[in-house]
Amino acid sequence: MSVKEELLKRLSDGVVNMEEDDVAEAAQEYLEAGYPAFDGIMKGLIDGMNRAGQLYEEEEYFVTDVLLCSDAMYAGLDVLRPCLPDEEDKAKRKGVIGVVEGDTHDIGKNLVKIMMETAGFDMIDLGRDVPLQKFVDTAREEGAELICMSTLMTTTMGGMETVIHLLEENGLRDKVKVMIGGGPISQRYADKIGADGYSQNAVEAVKLAKRLLDIA
């Protein structure tokens, strides 16, 4: 195994094993050895996060594990990203994500955001308890192609339909795909309110986003 391969493996393994400090250190060593940041991100950090996602799908890892893996990934990204050539970041597809107004449960949303970023999307995170108009305004301002909304409460799920109506009123509905998820949400509900898709978990959300945007 070459030095580069060894460092990439250390980055990937560090993410899977949630070793934030070691990932940051390995990323620094990787750069000092003169290797390209892009490979370090894709073949090291993202590879590790994909492995974590796979373990999550197999129910070996749980929400807390994935969150800790992502902390390690972001620690590595903080080191490598500044050394990325400008053009590497430009081709990313943009999405807006948030928990709808009235609800503050954001664990699932955070997980989807992480997995979407891992898959190469540029996610604009509006946080939790997000005013409905803000989803639409941000999508317009940022030229986003996706709006991802979640809620854990039945009392607030109606807000998702409102966002779809607001997109229609603002003439944006055909420019933005709407994905929804969360405890009480189902495919049936997505169909009912006219959302483009529903996903049950973060891994499925990535597959759905790629399908909706025709990404191979």
């Binding site: 749980f62 009235g102 503050t104 009392t155």
Partner: protein
């Protein structure tokens, strides 16, 4: 390793404050969430709307956190109080959380509202939140999850700090006539923590906490556990179920009222599943080992 089953929350039951509940009550929001008299009115309206056997208070899971300094968005007639911004950024800071003053603020008003309802002949359930739910209002959950994994001793201390406050809360509630306390911490369920961490939380905190609570609470107090907590205790071998004959088939809420003074813990169903019926006329009490 423990085999903790998950209880999937269903959504066909009581969902709390909504426009349908608040319409026609001539209350102003969010003011109505903050005063004992209006809280009592709202609780009765919610009970009538749901067709429930008891009044449930409060209407959110932010009261304990607010009493410890949390920042709250008090909501409106469509959605109840909820967390605003986090006030802490590191788990170490949580050790400095202040003690709850039960003589002021919304926590006091909640206790008073329980007393008002009790005097009006209502059955009252005081909904108490566990540590993960309380912490969700105070600090980003990712800091908590991380600390549970990387600094378990620190988090054990934090859990117990909160646990002591909760035990005081229950004792205080008894003074206001509360006989049924629900305890839930769905933010710390096995579906989120995973089996290993969920087991750790039971052994570091939940089991001993409930054991102490059982000893401290009055004989007439019934603690209604969220089924997620029930499954965590059963799955780690810390508790067992004991079947008790009821006078006949009845709804779970009704059965809990019947069980007051007979057992210490219930937990076979979510108390918000209003129409869940024990058709076989048998109640499953939870007994801690």
């Amino acid at each position: 390793m423990a085999e903790i089953k998950d209880f999937n929350c269903t959504y066909d039951n009581s969902v709390g404050i909504s426009k349908e509940v608040t319409a026609g009550l001539s209350l102003t929001f969010p003011d109505a969430y903050m005063h004992a008299d209006t809280m009592a009115v709202l609780a009765k309206a919610l009970k009538a709307h749901d067709g429930a056997d008891f009044c449930g208070l409060p209407f959110c899971h932010t009261v304990e956190a607010e009493a410890m300094g949390g920042s709250i968005n008090f909501g409106n007639d469509k959605a109840g109080p909820r967390a605003k911004e986090y006030i802490y950024t590191s788990p170490e800071e949580l050790l400095e959380l202040p003690e709850i003053d039960f003589t002021k603020g919304r926590v006091y008003e909640t206790l008073l509202a329980c007393q008002i309802l009790k005097k009006q002949g209502e059955q009252v359930v005081l909904e108490v939140s566990g540590p993960f739910t309380i912490l969700n209002v105070l600090i980003d959950a990712r800091h908590v999850f991380k600390a549970v994994r990387k600094k378990p001793e620190l988090m054990k201390e934090v859990f117990w700090k909160l646990g002591k406050e909760l035990q005081r809360y229950v004792k205080e509630a008894e003074k206001y006539g509360v006989e049924m306390i629900s305890y839930a911490d769905s933010s710390g369920g096995v579906n989120i923590l995973g089996p290993k961490t969920a087991e750790q939380v039971v052994s570091d905190f939940t089991y001993e906490f409930l054991k102490e609570l059982e000893e401290a609470a009055g004989e007439g107090t019934l603690i209604l556990l969220c089924p997620k907590t029930t499954f965590a205790l059963l799955g780690t071998g810390k508790a067992e179920l004991k079947e008790i004959e009821l006078p006949g088939p009845m709804r779970y809420g009704e059965a809990c009222i019947y069980m007051k003074g007979r057992i210490h813990f219930a937990g076979q169903m979510c108390i918000k599943n209003i129409n869940y019926r024990l058709e076989n006329g048998r109640f499953k009490a939870l007994v801690l080992k």
